[in-house]
C-alpha cells in the first residue's frame, strides 16, 4: 500500500522535475559551459578559451563600475524597503490609539493595507512606464509640473531625474531616483509580510509591555522587532536578489540602458550589452556565472549570520 503511494507521487513529480531540469538546470550548465568559450551568440562556432573570460572580468572597468552600483543597491534597497515596510506595518497593526479596545492599528488601516500593496500587483514594466511619466523631464512630468506651479523649479531648468549623473552623497543622482522606485514598489509587499508576522505575536505580550509603561518606541524596538527577526532576515535575502537584479528598471528607465554615460550601469546591463550588442556571449556568460556565484554566497552568508535560537509562543 505505502509502496503504491510512493509510486503514485513519483509519477506526478517526474514531469515537473524533468521540466525543471531541462528548462532551468540545463541552461545553467550550458551557460557555465559557454563561459569557457569565445562564442558570439549567432552561430555554432565556438572555441574553448579556458578561464580567459573570468580573468577578463577583473580588469574590465565597466564591470567594476557596475559592481559598485550593484553594491549600492544591495545595501540601500533592502535597508530602505524593510525600514519603510516595518514602519508601515507597525502603524497598521499596533500603532493605533491605546484604549480599552486593546492593540490595534491606526484609523483606516485596512484601506491603507490595500493601497500600499497595490504596486505589487503591477508588473515592473508597468511600474516603470508609469514612473517615466512621473519623472518626465519637462513641465509635463508629474513632479516637475507640480514643482513648477509652486515656483520651486524654474521652467528653464527642470529636474532631469534619469539624465542626471551628478553625484549625491557620492552616488550618481540617477541611482537614487531608481532606488526610490524600487523601494516604492517593494515596500507594500513586505508591509503585508510583516503585518502577518506581527499578528502572530500574541496580544498579551504587547498588553503586558504597555501595562509596564512601555511607549510605542520601546514596544517596537524591544518587542516587535526582535520577534520579527526571522521574517526580516528572509525579507533581507529576497530584497538582496532584487537589488542584484534591478535590470528591468534600468533597462526601461535610463537612457542608453545604463546611462547617462554609464552612470546607472549595473551587472545585468553590462551583461546584456556584452552579449547582444558586442556579440561576446562567452564573456557575457562568464559575467552571468560570476553573478550567480556572488548571489549564492551572499544568501548563504546572510542566512548564516542571522541564524539564531527561535522563540515559540
Amino acid at each position: 500500500m505505502r509502496h503504491g503511494v510512493a509510486r503514485f507521487v513519483t509519477g506526478f513529480l517526474a514531469l515537473p522535475v524533468g521540466l525543471y531540469l531541462f528548462y532551468v538546470v540545463w541552461p545553467f550548465l550550458q551557460a557555465a559551459g559557454y563561459s569557457l568559450t569565445d562564442w558570439g551568440g549567432y552561430s555554432d562556432r565556438q572555441q574553448f578559451v579556458g578561464l580567459d573570460n573570468y580573468l577578463r572580468l577583473f580588469s574590465d572597468e565597466l564591470i567594476r563600475k557596475a559592481f559598485w552600483h550593484n553594491v549600492f543597491f544591495l545595501i540601500t534597497v533592502p535597508f530602505f524597503t524593510i525600514a519603510l515596510a516595518l514602519f508601515l506595518a507597525f502603524l497598521l497593526n499596533v500603532g493605533g490609539r491605546e484604549d480599552k479596545a486593546g492593540i490595534r492599528g491606526v484609523f483606516g488601516s485596512g484601506l491603507y493595507k490595500v493601497i500600499f500593496f497595490f504596486p505589487q500587483v503591477l508588473s515592473l514594466v508597468v511600474v516603470a512606464v508609469m514612473w517615466q511619466q512621473i519623472y518626465r523631464a519637462d513641465g509635463q512630468g508629474l513632479i516637475n509640473g507640480v514643482l513648477m506651479k509652486l515656483g520651486l523649479v524654474s521652467p528653464d531648468e527642470p529636474i532631469t531625474f534619469m539624465y542626471d549623473p551628478e553625484p549625491f552623497l557620492g552616488v550618481p543622482a540617477v541611482l537614487w531616483w531608481l532606488l526610490l522606485i524600487a523601494v516604492w514598489s517593494g515596500a507594500g509587499f513586505y508591509m503585508v509580510l510583516f503585518s502577518a508576522a506581527m499578528q502572530s505575536i500574541p496580544k498579551d505580550v504587547f498588553e503586558a509591555a504597555i501595562l509596564d509603561g512601555a511607549g510605542r518606541f520601546h514596544t517596537f524596538f524591544r518587542i516587535t522587532l526582535p520577534l520579527l527577526r526571522d521574517t526580516v532576515s528572509v525579507a533581507w535575502v529576497y530584497l538582496g536578489f532584487i537589488a542584484l537584479d534591478m535590470y528591468a528598471l534600468v533597462f526601461v528607465m535610463t537612457p542608453s540602458q545604463g546611462g547617462p554615460n554609464h552612470a546607472s550601469e549595473i551587472f545585468a546591463s553590462v551583461l546584456n550589452f556584452t552579449a547582444f550588442q558586442k556579440g561576446q556571449f562567452g564573456y557575457a556568460c562568464a559575467m552571468g556565472v560570476a553573478l550567480a556565484i556572488f548571489t549564492i554566497l551572499l544568501a548563504a552568508l546572510q542566512l548564516r549570520i542571522t541564524r539564531r535560537e527561535r522563540i515559540e509562543y
Binding site: 551568440g41 549567432y42 531648468e157 535575502v237 537612457p255 542608453s256 552579449a275 556579440g279 527561535r310
Partner: protein, 467 residues
C-alpha cells in the same frame, strides 16, 4: 515559550522558498546565454532560370519577419501580394514585431526565419552577424535580373545602397528604405515670420535670437536615444572637416578625431547648448517631435520617417519641411553633402531553410511596383530608383529636392555599425555634450581614447571602409 530544534516546518518552507528565489535574478540572465545544437538543412532548389533566378521551389514556404516601427508594416503586405501573384503556390508566413533581436537572435544558430528585417532599437548587431557567419552574402541577388525593370537588381538601386550593405567586401544587408536626414522646420511659420532656414551654424546663431524673441526654442532633439544627437553631430563634422576625416575616423586611423575642422564643428554644438538655444528638459523622440509640432521649438533633426511616425498628431496648417544639416561656416570643406542613405535592412540568415524564397521575396520588395507602394504608404523614399516619382507629398518633396541639390558624396558614417563599443561610447558622449557636461575638446579626447582602445583590442575584429 520554549526553544525548538533547529529545523521546524516553517523554517523548512522558508528556506525552500529562499532557494527558489535564489536563482531568479541569475536565471533569466543565464538562460539567455543558452542555445542548442544546430540542425542541418539543405536547400532543395528547383531549376534556376531568368524568371526564377534562385531556383525557388514550388509549394515551399517562406517565413518573413518585418520590423513594425516608424514605417509601419502595411507596405510589406503589398510586397507579399506582388510576390504571391507570381508564386501562388509558395506560402508566405509574414509576421511583424518591434522586438527583432529578442525574438530572432535565439533562433539564429538553429531554425531562423528565412528573411528578417533587422531594424529598430532592438536590432541584431551587424558586425557580429557578419563576423559570426550568421548571415548569408547576397551578391547573387545584386546580379539577378530585376523583378519588373530592365537590368539587374543592382542597377535598380539608388547610390549608396550597395555600399551601405557591404561588409568586408561582400553584400550582406539589403536596405529597402532610403532615408534623408536633416533639420525639419514648419514652412508656414517660417514664411509668416520671414525666416530662412540656415545652412551653417553661423547663420543659425544669427537667426536664433529672432526665434527666441517669439518665445520659441530654436532647437529640440531626442535626448533619450543617443543616436539621435549623434547623427547631427557627425553630419556637422563631415561638412566642416570633409569626407576624408570621417573615413579616417571609421578606419580607426591614429589621431583621426584631431583632424582639422572637427573641433570647430563640435564647438558649434557646445555653443548651441551654452547659449540655451535648446528646449529645456530631456524628451524622447516622440515627445520632442510632438513639442516641435506644438510649436515649442523651431528646428528638430530627424530622418524622413518623421511624417509617417507623427501622422496622427500633425496640426492643421503645419508645413513639414526638411532642410540640410548645418555645417559650421562658409569655410566648410563639404557644405553640400547631404546625410542620406539606405536604411531598414533585410538579412537572410545562413541557416535559413528557404534562402531561395527569401531572395526571391527581396526581389519583389525591390521591384518598381513594390517600392512605389512603399513610398506611397510610408512617405519615405525606397532604395529603388524612382520610387518617389509619383508621390505627391510636400514633406517628401522637400527631401527629394534636397537630394537633387546634394554634393558629390552622401554623408555616411560606419563606426556605429563597425564597433559596438564605439557605438555606445559615441552615443553616450553625444548626450553628454548636448547636456552641457562635456566641452567639445573633452569630447574629442574621449572619442579618440575610445577609438584607440578598440584599435588595440585584439578580441574585436577590425573593419575598413574605402568609400
Amino acid at each position: 515559550m520554549s526553544v525548538t530544534p533547529d529545523l521546524d516546518r516553517r523554517t523548512l518552507l522558508r528556506r525552500a522558498a529562499a532557494a527558489g528565489l535564489l536563482v531568479t535574478p541569475a536565471a533569466g540572465l543565464l538562460s539567455a546565454c543558452a542555445g542548442s545544437t544546430p540542425d542541418q538543412n539543405d536547400d532543395n532548389d528547383a531549376e534556376k532560370s531568368n524568371d526564377n533566378p534562385f531556383g525557388l521551389q514550388d509549394g515551399s514556404a517562406v517565413k518573413v519577419v518585418i520590423f513594425n516601427g516608424g514605417l509601419g508594416d502595411a507596405w510589406a503586405k503589398e510586397d507579399q501580394a506582388i510576390f504571391s501573384a507570381k508564386h501562388p503556390n509558395v506560402t508566405v508566413n509574414m509576421s511583424s514585431t518591434q522586438k527583432i533581436k529578442t525574438e530572432e537572435q535565439p533562433k539564429m544558430a538553429t531554425q531562423p526565419s528565412d528573411l528578417i528585417m533587422n531594424s529598430g532599437a532592438d536590432l541584431m548587431d551587424l558586425s557580429t552577424l557578419v563576423n559570426e557567419g550568421a548571415i548569408e552574402p547576397l551578391d547573387d541577388l545584386l546580379a539577378a535580373p530585376a523583378w519588373d525593370s530592365e537590368g539587374t537588381v543592382a542597377d535598380s538601386l539608388l547610390p549608396g545602397t550597395v555600399s551601405d550593405g557591404t561588409f568586408q567586401g561582400k553584400f550582406f544587408v539589403v536596405y529597402v528604405a532610403f532615408t534623408v536626414w536633416g533639420n525639419w522646420y514648419n514652412g508656414a511659420l517660417f514664411d509668416r515670420e520671414g525666416w530662412a532656414p540656415p545652412k551653417t551654424f553661423e547663420e543659425f546663431f544669427t537667426l536664433a535670437p529672432q526665434i527666441k524673441a517669439k518665445g520659441i526654442a530654436p532647437y529640440v532633439y531626442d535626448a533619450v536615444h543617443g543616436y539621435y544627437p549623434r547623427w547631427a553631430l557627425m553630419a556637422s563634422i563631415w561638412k566642416s572637416a570633409g569626407k576624408q576625416a570621417v573615413v579616417d575616423i571609421d578606419n580607426l586611423k591614429e589621431n583621426a578625431w584631431r583632424a582639422e575642422g572637427i573641433l570647430p564643428a563640435l564647438e558649434a554644438w557646445e555653443k548651441l547648448v551654452k547659449d540655451k538655444l535648446v528646449l529645456p528638459g530631456k524628451l524622447d523622440h516622440t515627445q520632442s517631435q510632438q513639442a516641435w509640432l506644438d510649436g515649442k521649438a523651431a528646428f528638430i533633426q530627424v530622418g524622413t520617417w518623421l511624417k509617417n511616425e507623427m501622422a496622427a498628431t500633425i496640426p492643421p496648417g503645419f508645413e513639414m519641411k526638411l532642410s540640410d544639416y548645418w555645417g559650421v561656416s562658409a569655410a566648410d570643406k563639404a557644405p553640400k553633402d547631404v546625410f542620406a542613405g539606405a536604411g531598414e535592412g533585410f538579412v537572410v540568415p545562413s541557416k535559413a531553410p528557404n534562402k531561395a524564397a527569401a531572395k526571391e521575396f527581396l526581389r519583389a520588395v525591390l521591384s518598381k511596383a513594390g517600392s512605389a507602394k512603399f513610398a506611397e504608404l510610408t512617405k519615405s523614399l525606397a532604395s529603388t530608383k524612382g520610387s518617389g516619382d509619383n508621390v505627391q507629398d510636400p514633406a517628401l518633396a522637400t527631401a527629394n529636392e534636397l537630394m537633387k541639390n546634394a554634393g558629390s558624396d552622401l554623408i555616411s558614417v560606419k563606426l556605429w555599425d563597425f564597433y559596438a563599443d564605439l557605438d555606445k561610447e559615441s552615443q553616450n558622449l553625444s548626450q553628454e555634450l548636448m547636456a552641457g557636461r562635456l566641452t567639445a575638446a573633452q569630447f574629442v579626447d574621449k572619442m579618440q581614447a575610445a577609438a584607440d582602445k578598440v584599435a588595440g583590442d585584439s578580441s574585436i575584429t577590425k573593419q575598413t571602409r574605402n568609400v
